[in-house]
Structures are given as C-alpha cells and as structure tokens.
C-alpha cells in the first residue's frame, strides 16, 4: 500500500535543503544533488517518523528517487502489516 510519497518527499526536501521542485522521481540521487551526508540525515528522519529501520547501505547515489521511495514504502508497509 503506497501513499507516503508526499510526506517522504517533504522529509527529503527538509533534510537536504533541496528545493522540492527539484525532487524529480525519475532523477538519480546524485543528479538531484543529494550527497552522502544528506542521505544519512534523510534516513534518520524517516526512521524517526515511521519507526522503521533502514540499513546503512540500503541506497546508493546511483538509485533514482522513485526506487528509493518504493523501497521505503515497502518498509513502512511491512512494519504496518
């Protein structure tokens, strides 16, 4: 069950200080400008909000934002199940 995409994008924008409009789901994290420090902050904030655990190496900067969002949605769904 999806449905957290808006919230997740909001968290990513907040933690990375990257304008929401630049967060195109088809773009790779590195092309969006999300660096490794941003990524650990984003992971921390998402873990906080949803009570999920995300492995340190769950994402690569080569991943697209859509892929990242899908993985997080799956974790949140698994937690809720």
């Amino acid at each position: 069950m999806a449905g957290h995409e808006d919230e997740l994008i909001e968290i990513i924008a907040e933690e990375s200080l990257i304008d929401r409009a630049k967060l195109d789901p088809a773009a790779k994290l590195e092309d969006i400008g999300l660096d490794s420090v941003d990524l650990v902050s984003v992971i921390f904030a998402i873990e906080e909000k949803y009570g999920v655990e995300i492995a340190e190496d769950a994402f690569s900067r080569e991943d697209t934002l859509a892929k990242v969002l899908a993985k997080i949605e799956a974790l949140i769904d698994a937690k809720g199940a």
Partner: protein, 408 residues
Amino acid sequence: MAETIVVTGLGAVSALGLGAAENWRAARAGEGGIAPHLFEPGPHGPAPVTTPAALVKGDAVAALETALGRRIGGSLDPFAIYALLAAHEALAQAGLLGAPLGSRAAVVMGNGIGGLQTLEKAYERFFGLKATKVHPLTVPRVMVSAPVSAIAMEFGATGPVFATSSACASSGHAVAQGAALIAAGLADIAVVGGSEAMASPAGMRSWEGLQAMSPTTCRPFSSGRDGMIIGEGGAALVLERQSSARARGAPALATWAGAGLSSDAFHWTQPSLEGTMAAMRQACEPAGLLEAREVLISSHGTGTPLNDKNEAAALRGLFGARADAHPVIATKSAHGHVIGGSAALQAVIALMALAAGEAPPILNYLGADPECDLDLVLGQARPIGATSLLVNAFAFGGLNVSLAFVKA
C-alpha cells in the same frame, strides 16, 4: 612599524535584537532583554522551571535564510546560526560579500561549549528514549569549530580558520588571535568574534549549580547585586590591514590598538586582582590608554558580587585617580552574559558607542556599592568624549582578555 589594523564591519545577534544597529539602538535607549522564560526539559526530565534569561529576540534562522537566500532549517545548531548571521552582517558592512574571501582571509570565532542544544537532544534520545541512533550530524553540529567552518564555507575563506575556547573570554581571545594573524602576516582580513547558545534546560541547571546566577536580573556594580544572567547570541567584527580596507574603499569604523592576555592560575570561579589587572595593563600600556584623558570602558560587569568588586579594584589599581574620568558601561545588564560570545558582542556595542560619542546606561542599578567606586554610566545614555575603548572579558577558570580600540 607594523601596519595599522582597522575594523571595517560589525555584526550582532542578542536579546536586544538582530543586527548591530538594533543592538546599539536598544542598548542606548536603556532597553533590557532579560525576562523570565520557561525551560521545559521534556518527558524524561524534571518539572519545567521558569528562570530569567536573555534569549535572542527575533527569528535568527529566518533572518539568516533571507541574508543567504537559501534554506538553513535545522541544519546548524543555534550557536552556529548566530555566528553565521553576525559574520554575514559584518562582511556586508565591510563590502566583502560576493567574491570568495580567499586564502588571505582568516576566520576565528570563540565559544565556550559548542552546540549544547543539539547535544542535549541527542542525549535525550539516547538516555531518555533509549534510541540506538542519534542524529547522524550530531558531531558536526556540536563541535566547537562548527561556526568557523560554516562561515568559511559560506564566504569562501581558505586561510587560517579555527575556534578559540576560554569560557566567558572565548570571543575576546578570538578577536586577539585574528589581529595577531594579520600582524604576523598570515592573513590580510580576519572575521572574528564568537557566539553561544547555552540557554537549554540542562544548560541552565548546570549554571545554577555554580551558585553564580541571579534569581532576578543582572545588576552590575550595584548594591544588592546577586549574580549573572545567561544570555545567548553572537557577534562578529571584520579586522583588516588598513591598506586592504583603503584599496576597497571601506571606511574604518575604529582602529585596533591591541590586546592583553593573562591567566590567573588561581581558581575556577573566583577572579584574581593580579590576573585581571595584568590583562588590562598589557592592552592599555602600548596603546597609550593609561595616560588618556577619557577611556570608554566596557566592563566584564557580570553582576556577581565578586567579579564586579574585583574589576572595580583592578580598574582603580590600573588607572588610579584617572579612573574618575573613564565612563564605565556594563551591557550584560541588557543582553545578559553571552558567555563565549560576550566579549565580541560588548566590543560591537561599545565600538558603536565610541563612534556615536554616547555611552549606553547600566540597567537594573539599585544603589551605590562603595567597593565599586567607578564612573558608572547610569540612568540614561550619556555623551562621552572618549577616543579609545577598553573591553574586558574575564572567564571562569581564570582566563582574562582585554581588548583596546581607538576611534577612527
């Protein structure tokens, strides 16, 4: 002879407001920033306590976001926000925004303890909530060098960049170090100052443990004074070679006249007459302040019984009868004790007073203490004829700095 060093920019953030001009306006008008605040320690702490403090007036994050034209959010601890905002203001006044500052620019800012509020939140999670992870950026947000790194990155300063820490004298040491880097030929421009944001629930309790806090307000040199009040904020000055300022057409706001640095090697919380006098003498002698007709003195003036008595005796001991002609101000009575940021904040306000030819009043004064026999500026702002300025900062642990400036 060494080239003259001038001040070309000032910036300030405190309980008196955002910006050096607003800080000066409020100080001159006799407005105080000390008020009771509720400190809420969260679900794992004891009951909330209301304590007088001087918290920053205005939205510093919003002001910084406007100044830099980008989001800041919660990416920096407040002590770094205040330092960055003050540095931006000082650099703007000096005409140094735009191009990167480069390798001939130094950044030296002081603070006493680092990002305490960030550390408290991390520890609340760890010890209180028993969370296994704390925020991944806890260390870079807490570290005492976070403000100087933030300033260097923001304005492209690639010369000597470091923090100084000496409790309540931290930004005094930073100003002295910045000037020393220029004098030593290691930089042409130095962004100097300091900041502090210790007004957190556990930070306030820690200070109270020292028995040095007033339950009411800060009354420097007054009878019935009963302690200091914690403030928060930051301040910055741009120091540079006179030739560098002239080449850019930047007006000199004041001339740097030297510093005095000493250690009491004596006690954690009690001052020493010898130590504080030694710092003042070292700053005053080469600059000719000991013979000056009138010197504006921005005292350390914390409002503790011991500090003010000692500082009055040290000023008397140094200046003798001449002290009668030196107006003494104590702006901590307005902006509280900004700990590591105090010396720079007091320097900024006092430099504006020197330029304006007016000394701001000491607030909350109840009556004379015979052991503080100085020419205190009381009641309202007073016209002054001083052409030089002495700023004192005496830290717990016995670390003393005096800064001397001459009117431009």
